[in-house]
């Protein structure tokens, strides 16, 4: 009698554990699916809604597990945590130049990307200055960057000042704080930027 009970208990426990594992696996796969289809950073709230749970703590636990799963595996993809507990699935940067040609959404061409880099690097910077340095075409670039939500303008007196948006920071996984972001950017732009800074002290 007792033995049977123990067996039942043990079987129950196993069952339960198997169920738990299965449930956890299901949650991980759901989060993966969500990050894959969205192609943008998702907040814990959005991720929780996919898991159909109100516990952001639980969602966070799962998404961290998924992150670990991705980073421990040999894969071209990565999951990053951004500011304000938002998460994004993306291609590791090292692969970008090698597969860019297969992308069908027209990426920004190198002109606008240079203007973007300049604005990010010198922000806050007047529109006038950007046009002076990048040329007349930069009007179009600025418009495009604003349309894409990567850059925002502020009117200060008679002139327009440009800076990057939080969306920009998220897109590149940078800090939302301008000073910190500029430091991070300098690291990304690397040696070229460093030399430049030494030659030309900030005004």
């Amino acid at each position: 009698m007792q033995e049977t009970k123990e067996q039942v208990n043990s079987a129950n426990a196993e069952d339960k554990q198997a169920q738990e594992t299965e449930k956890a696996q299901r949650c991980l796969r759901l989060l993966e699916a969500a990050l894959y289809v969205a192609g943008r950073p998702l907040s814990l709230t959005e991720l929780s809604s996919v898991l159909n749970t109100r516990s952001q703590q639980k969602t966070k636990k799962y998404v961290k597990t998924l992150m670990q799963e991705y980073s421990s595996r040999n894969t071209a993809l990565e999951i990053l945590e951004l500011k304000d507990e938002r998460y994004v699935l993306q291609l590791k940067a090292e692969f970008t130049p090698l597969v860019k040609k297969l992308v069908n959404k027209p990426l920004l061409s190198s002109g606008p990307l240079k203007t973007l880099a300049y604005i990010a690097y010198r922000q806050p910077v007047t529109q006038k200055r950007v046009i002076q340095v990048r040329g007349q075409h930069a009007y179009g670039h600025i418009k495009l960057l604003k349309d894409m939500g990567l850059v925002a303008t502020e009117r200060s007196g008679r002139s327009m000042t440009l800076r990057t948006t939080d969306y920009f920071a998220d897109y590149f996984g940078l800090s939302h704080d301008t000073m910190t972001m500029k430091k991070e950017l300098k690291r990304i732009f690397g040696e070229a930027a460093k030399e430049e800074e030494q030659r030309r002290p900030e005004p």
Binding site: G39, R40, F95, K100, Q132, V133, A192
Partner: protein, 232 residues
């Protein structure tokens, strides 16, 4: 129809240059990048979805006028100024956006919904879309001091035509490259502009070989119906 009196986008810089005659008359033509202005004008109009044929007309007219001003300076042998020096500043390398795969929400249902619209438009000429907008200056205001310039051009054209008659001899055709052999760049441009005027009057015909980019000049109008000449 639309009650909004909001200032249209093209009265803002940089496009306003094309719509303010006073400015147009004062400016140095070399400072105007017409290709950029027109491309961005069209893109902006496309984005806002408000197609305004009158504005397009004025923009085109102003651009033509600026080209004419540039041609005029070239014909009087004024060298275009050297491109302005951009201020020295470090421009970091382009920032490439991280690649992410994104699903899009457009389904075949959407495609079919808009198809319905388009096929309706295929049958109905869409002339009723044009709405008069009183914000633009009349086109004729833009064209005063041109007459003397045109007279000057007439003279130059006559000279060039005489030269061509002499050069083509029996064949009736001459290559542009041989016509401008040994002349300065500015003189070559000037010659080319005059050729365009001559072609427009039907005195000569021009065509370009797409492969070699050579431009051929033939005397008189080209008879395209027979296709004999184009096969050369």
């Amino acid at each position: 129809m639309s009650a909004e009196i909001k200032k249209p986008f093209y009265l803002r810089p940089p496009w306003n240059i094309l719509f303010e005659i006073s400015k147009l008359e004062k400016l140095t033509p070399w400072n105007v990048n017409i290709a950029y202005l027109l491309t961005s004008f069209l893109l902006e109009m496309e984005r806002t979805g408000k197609v305004d044929f009158r504005a397009s007309g004025v923009a085109l007219d102003s651009s033509a006028l600026i080209y004419l001003m540039k041609s005029k300076l070239l014909l009087t042998l004024q060298e275009p100024p050297a491109p302005p020096k951009t201020p020295q500043d470090f421009v970091p390398p382009p920032l490439f956006l991280p690649l992410r795969h994104e699903f899009t929400s457009t389904t075949i249902q959407h495609l079919l919904e808009v198809l319905d619209d388009v096929l309706k438009g295929e049958k109905l000429p869409s002339l009723d879309k044009i709405v008069a907008q009183p914000v633009l200056p009349a086109v004729s205001d833009l064209m005063p001091q041109i007459d003397i310039f045109l007279m000057e051009i007439e003279m130059q054209m006559e000279k060039l035509y005489a030269l061509l008659c002499e050069k083509v001899k029996g064949t009736g055709i001459i290559e542009f490259s041989s016509l401008i052999k040994g002349v300065t760049r500015i003189e070559a441009i000037r010659t080319f502009i005059l050729l365009l005027f001559l072609a427009q009057e039907g005195k000569i015909s021009l065509w370009q070989d797409e492969a070699t980019e050579e431009i051929y000049i033939a005397m008189g109008k080209l008879n395209l119906a027979g296709n004999e000449r184009t096969s050369e």
